[in-house]
């Protein structure tokens, strides 16, 4: 009889630990999803700004039509809703957003070489607004990466890794900055290319 009680107590203890681990893993996944939604809101703000920037650019930067078209293509590609249950879909979306960031930086860098005062003024205002949004995206990205790191630890470190596998919780991809993004854009390179 005593043995049965010990077994039941142990079973209860293991069950409680497993439940708390399950709660913790799910909380971390939900936190990472919520952080992704925060990025999504900021990226949407950026998407809304891009048509205005392109409108200004199209009037003056007629020689840069390929770059303008590239920005338009990337913007359209990143507009589709992302399935937050699918890490691969999130990864693809984040990579496309990184490409869009890089193209926008190129666009602003090239725009600096156009001396028309009205254009310079309009582009300057657009760039300031854009950079403000970029600041928010950067903050959201840091929050997202922090949440993803917590989730990744839970998914990869035992015993929570076992619970995560049973619950079907997978790690989510980091929103990384490309090496090219870290470097300042050289407008000379772009123009000569």
């Amino acid at each position: 009889m005593d043995g049965l009680w010990i077994f039941l107590i142990l079973l209860g203890f293991v069950g409680a630990v497993a439940y708390f681990l399950y709660v913790s893993v799910i909380q971390k996944r939900n936190r990472a999803r919520s952080a992704f939604s925060t990025i999504d809101v900021q990226l949407k703000k950026r998407h809304d700004l891009i048509p205005n920037v392109l409108k200004i650019a199209k009037e003056t930067m007629k020689q840069e039509m390929s770059l303008i078209e590239e920005v338009t293509r990337l913007r359209t590609a990143t507009e589709a809703p992302t399935d937050t249950n699918d890490p691969d879909a999130i990864k693809g979306r984040l990579e496309a957003e990184s490409s869009l960031t890089q193209s926008m930086r190129q666009l602003f860098a090239v725009a600096e070489n156009y001396p028309e005062p009205r254009f310079v003024e309009a582009m300057k205002t657009a760039q300031e607004t854009y950079q403000e949004v970029e600041g928010h995206i950067s903050a959201a990205r840091r929050f997202y990466n922090s949440a993803v790191e917590d989730l990744q630890n839970a998914v990869e470190i035992w015993p929570s890794s076992t619970i995560a596998a049973l619950a079907g919780v997978k790690a989510m991809p980091f929103f990384e900055i490309d090496d090219t993004e870290r470097k300042p854009v050289d407008a000379g390179d772009i123009l000569s290319g």
Binding site: A35, E132, S138, A139, N145, S146
Partner: protein, 306 residues
């Protein structure tokens, strides 16, 4: 060299008063000490112990009479010098400091610990790099009593500064000095949750709490974190804490370990030297420059993101 130089004759009147006060003290000591000594002997002879007590009181009075003018002048010198320094920068100076209630927001944010005794002075107000600010010195103490004894503990002695920005922050973000094992205790008193940042050096020195995880990272950019770390180089023994709330950045520089139990900034320490050679002027200038360097370092430009 300071960009704010002074007319060497600006303080001529004060210098004259300083010499008069020193001369007054000399005279009091010269005549007062023998008079008190003689009076003590006579009163002790005639009135015994009571006479001695009267002599001690007399000596105390003589000391106060001797030092009174210098004490009064010391305060006036400080006010005059700091007023000129503030004026040269386009700021306002008030030696009395702000209302004591100005400290309550710092307490609410956890930048100044609980206290029941407060002393504030030396308020500077103005604009620096396009940002409105106020800076003042604060001494906060906690007096506790029980049946057997009474104790007083200094909880804050240093500078408090507030910078105003043209836009509101959505949440409240507080940067506290890391307390190691006791960080959990700080967490209890904070509104938001812990924000873990990427910089390991910053994480070792500070702990951050915020009601908005994204905004905390928007405000605490890697460069801003580095600047907060840099302030530690200016005040290596001080405890640096900061908070963002509504449209303000609050900064608390607690130097209590360096200044002891007294208000340590902006004080004339040596009245024996001529004003032109007063270390106080250089010291005040240095203290204000340090503050300006901090603001420069924080890059609190109203036109930028913060």
């Amino acid at each position: 060299m300071s960009p704010y130089s002074f007319d060497p004759h600006l303080f001529d009147e004060l210098e004259k008063e300083r010499l008069e006060a020193l001369s007054w003290r000399k005279k009091v000591w010269l005549f007062g000490v023998p008079i008190v000594a003689v009076a003590s002997i006579i009163s002790a002879m005639f009135f015994g112990a009571e006479g001695l007590i009267a002599a001690v009181v007399g000596a105390g009075l003589a000391y106060m009479i001797a030092e009174f003018k210098l004490f009064e002048l010391k305060e006036r010198m400080k006010t005059d010098i700091l007023s000129h320094m503030a004026e040269a920068r386009g700021w306002n100076f008030n030696a009395d400091g702000p209302a004591e209630s100005a400290v309550s927001v710092y307490s609410d944010l956890g930048l100044v610990s609980s206290h029941n005794e407060l002393d504030v002075e030396d308020l500077f107000e103005g604009e620096l790099n396009g940002v409105r600010f106020e800076l003042f010195e604060t001494l906060a103490k906690m007096r506790t009593k029980n049946r057997k004894s009474e104790s007083v503990r200094t909880v804050f002695s240093g500078l408090l500064a507030r910078f105003s920005f043209p836009k509101d922050f959505q949440g409240s973000t507080v940067v506290l000095t890391d307390s190691g094992f006791f960080n959990w205790a700080a967490g209890f008193s904070q509104k938001g949750e812990r924000v873990t940042l990427e910089d390991p050096v910053f994480e070792k020195q500070f702990q951050v709490y915020s009601s908005d995880q994204v905004e905390a990272r928007y405000l605490l950019t890697p460069s801003f974190m580095q600047r907060l770390l840099d302030i530690r180089n200016v005040f290596p023994d001080a405890q640096i804490q900061a908070a963002f709330e509504q449209s303000h950045l609050y900064l608390a520089i607690d130097t209590k370990s360096a200044s002891g139990d007294e208000l340590g900034f902006f004080d004339v320490k040596d009245m024996s030297k001529p004003i032109s050679q007063q270390s106080a002027i250089q010291l005040f200038e240095k203290e204000l420059q340090v503050f300006e360097e901090i603001v420069d370092g924080l890059n609190l430009d109203a036109s930028t993101r913060i």
